[in-house]
C-alpha cells in the first residue's frame, strides 16, 4: 500500500532514537486513524514531527552542570596539573596574539595608467560645429607634418 509506504518513509527520516522508540506505534496509529483523519493531515503531522525532532536540542547532553561542578581534590594529580598548565599556556598565547596590533600589510606596487590624448570633438552641440572642429584639427595636424618635412629638408 503506497500510502503506508510514504508514511513509513517519513518515519524512517526521523532521528534514530525517536524512531526506535515510537515509529512502530506511529505506524499503528496511522493505520487506525487513516479512516477518521485525512491522509494529507497525517502526512503533514508526520512532516511537522520530523522537523521538530530534528530541530529539538534535547539530545544534547547537559554539559553545563558538569562543566561548573566542583573539582575533587583527590583527582588533581601531577600529570593533570601539567596538562592543565599546558592547555592554559596555549590559550594564553593565543589570547596575547589576539591582543597584539595587526602588522601593516604590504602595499601593492604603484601602477601608472598611460592614456592617449584624444581630442574632444564631440563637445559641440550640433553636427556642423563638430565637422568644422574636425577640419580644424586635421588642418593643424597637416600643417605640423608639413613643418616637420620642411625641417628635415
Amino acid at each position: 500500500m503506497i500510502k503506508r509506504r510514504i508514511y513509513q518513509l517519513l518515519l524512517r527520516m526521523h532521528p534514530p532514537a525517536f524512531r526506535e522508540r515510537f515509529a512502530d506505534e506511529m505506524l499503528w496509529l496511522f493505520d487506525e486513524t487513516l479512516g477518521d483523519a485525512g491522509l494529507f493531515e497525517l502526512y503533514t503531522d508526520a512532516a511537522y514531527s520530523l522537523v521538530k525532532q530534528h530541530t529539538a536540542n534535547d539530545s544534547v547532553p547537559p554539559s553545563a552542570p558538569q562543566l561548573f561542578q566542583a573539582v575533587h581534590v583527590g583527582t588533581l594529580s601531577t600529570t593533570r596539573i601539567f596538562q592543565a598548565g599546558a592547555v592554559a599556556s596555549l590559550v594564553m598565547i593565543g589570547f596575547m596574539k589576539l591582543l597584539q596590533p595587526p602588522l601593516p600589510l604590504p602595499q601593492p606596487p604603484k601602477t601608472y595608467v598611460v592614456r592617449r590624448y584624444v581630442p574632444d570633438i564631440c563637445s559641440g552641440t550640433n553636427f556642423a560645429s563638430r565637422t568644422i572642429r574636425l577640419h580644424q584639427i586635421r588642418r593643424t595636424h597637416i600643417n605640423r607634418l608639413a613643418a616637420i618635412v620642411e625641417e628635415k629638408k
Binding site: F22, M26, L29, E41, D45, A46, Y48, L50, D58
Partner: protein, 117 residues
C-alpha cells in the same frame, strides 16, 4: 541540581494540555489518548500521531509521564501504555489554576465593560 519543571515552564500548549488531561483519568495507549483528546474537546481538537509522540517524548523527558508494557494482553495485542506521574499531575493542576485565574480576570473585565455600557 534538579529544577521544578512544573514551575519553570509557562502556559502549556493545547496538545500538551490535552494529553495530560487525557492521562489524568486513566492510563492509555497512543490510540486511546487520541480518542480521549477528541472526546474531551468534543471533537474540536484532534491530534495526529506525530504531535502525540512528540508531546509524549517531551512529557517523559520532563518526568511528567511514563510508559510501561501492558502485561495482561497477548504479544500481538500488547501496547505500550502511558500514565501521568505526580509531577505531571502537579503541572496539570498548575496550568488549570492559571486558566481559572485568567478566566476570572476576563470575566471581571467583560462584566465591567457591560456595566459601563
Amino acid at each position: 541540581m534538579k529544577t521544578d519543571q512544573s514551575n519553570a515552564t509557562g502556559p502549556l500548549s493545547a496538545a500538551t494540555f490535552y494529553v495530560l488531561l487525557a492521562l489524568a483519568f486513566q492510563d492509555l495507549h497512543g490510540y486511546g489518548i487520541i480518542q480521549e483528546v477528541s472526546r474531551l474537546s468534543e471533537g474540536q481538537y484532534r491530534i495526529g500521531p506525530g504531535t502525540l509522540y512528540d508531546n509524549l517524548k517531551k512529557l517523559m523527558n520532563l518526568g511528567w509521564a511514563e510508559d510501561y508494557e501492558e502485561d495482561q494482553l497477548s504479544a500481538d495485542e500488547r501496547r505500550r501504555m502511558y500514565r501521568l506521574t505526580a509531577a505531571g499531575r502537579t503541572a496539570l493542576r498548575a496550568d488549570l489554576g492559571r486558566m481559572k485565574r485568567v478566566l476570572r480576570i476576563a470575566d471581571g473585565q467583560i462584566a465591567g465593560e457591560g456595566r459601563e455600557a
